[in-house]
């Protein structure tokens, strides 16, 4: 025999549940109406497709310690900073591809930003070869900001690290001739080496990067 008070309590709770369900249904309908009222029915603008332009990538090869020019037609933005970043992103995509001659994981997302700025004083401050050469008027320095994930996963070794840095420098100079110097940051901070070897604290001369490597004499 069910006590009377429990029966009453059951029906009270049942009535309350039905009432709350009705209220929720009503609130849902109101929210739906508000969403429909705020929806923009006009079609979205078609994305701007940048025209393809010829770009030159200086592609590194571990086998012979060389940089080889490779011409590609790429859709590039008009901004010089974004253009430099897009070109370097394509270069790192090549390195991240299976079977790359210079395998480096990471790809285009490894470059956070590229900043171009005038070279102070018009003279190179690099310790690199040709440092005494005066840079021409309008010369710019590129600051390449890499991700720490890229640096941490980069293969360790003098050759592989040097090739990565020099190919970035040479590619920048090939496509933006006004870039005469390059500095590297990792997550916006200065870092001693890329992966334990190549010095990242220095200014690299972009003009010398392509000529810095040569094959040995077997």
């Amino acid at each position: 025999m069910i006590p009377r008070y429990q029966t009453i309590l059951f029906f009270v709770l049942l009535a309350a549940s039905i009432a709350m369900g009705a209220v929720l249904w009503q609130l849902r309908e109101r929210a739906h109406q508000r969403l429909l009222a705020g929806e923009v029915t006009t079609p979205t603008a078609a994305p701007q497709v940048a025209p393809e332009v010829q770009a030159t990538l200086m592609v590194a090869s571990d086998a012979d310690d060389s940089l080889t020019p490779q011409a590609l037609a790429l859709p590039l933005p008009s901004s010089a900073n974004e253009r430099a970043r897009a070109i370097l992103g394509k270069l790192l995509d090549l390195y991240a591809a299976p079977g790359a001659a210079h395998p480096v994981p990471g790809g285009a997302s490894s470059i956070t930003q590229v900043f171009l700025m005038p070279v102070a004083g018009g003279a190179g401050t690099s310790a690199g070869a040709g440092a005494s050469e005066q840079t021409a008027g309008g010369a710019e320095m590129a600051v390449v900001n890499l991700t720490s994930a890229f640096a941490n996963s980069h293969p360790s070794g003098i050759e592989t690290e040097t090739l990565t840095l020099l190919s970035i420098c040479a590619t920048l100079h090939a496509n933006l001739p006004q870039v005469s110097e390059v500095r590297f940051l990792v997550d916006g901070q200065q870092r001693a080496t890329l992966a334990g070897h190549a010095d990242l604290t220095r200014t690299y001369l972009a003009t010398d990067a392509g000529a810095a490597q040569s094959g040995g004499q077997p």
Binding site: D62, A63, D64, D65, A127, G128, A129, G130, A131, S132, P155, S156, G157, I158, E159, T160, T162, A195, G196, H197, A198, D199, R202, Y204, D208, A212, Q213, S214, G215, G216, Q217, P218
Partner: protein, 219 residues
Amino acid sequence: MALGAALGAAALGTAIAQAPAAPAAPQARFVVVLDAAHGGDDAGANLNGQPEKAYTLALSVRLRSLLEARGISVVTTRESDATVDAEQRAQVADHARAQACLILHATESGFGVHLFTTSLAAAQPAVFEPWKTAQAAWETRSVALEGVLNSALGHAGLHVTMGRTELTTLDSMTCPAVAVEIAPSPAGANSLSDDSYQSQVADALAGALLEWRAEGGQL
């Protein structure tokens, strides 16, 4: 650090008296500095499970034995798994007044033996040389030493590449200096751990240094 740089620079002053353009004279004492890269907290690259620091130390010990057996004085920057920073390594080399300095590295990237000299432009020696650019005054002789090493390694049947790089240790040395990076032979990826391959490389390097001594180390 500044005091260390000053002391190092003072030592450089004496070393630079032996300028690259100085007339060739017989060396009373032929000294080679072997710098086994990395060590201690700095393990270097991972070479198929073996840390680079152990590989370079083993190569340094092997090469030292070969050279000392041929009457060449050898100074090493480390004899154990110790942490030695770039400036300490350069100080050891600079105080030794060596006729040749080899910085030993190893990697799994590429093939054969990679030789690197400084990317600094050749410069005239000065009384005091700043850290990180001291090697500029020795660039010409370093390139000459690299040529001798390249020739010897090539004659030993090893694949050789040459390049320029920016290494703090290398650029702070006041001696003919070359960074030697051992990579797997084109024949096999596991050749780094192959004792005969290591022996082939060490023998070729020792032969090259003997030739360098025979030429007076003044090419």
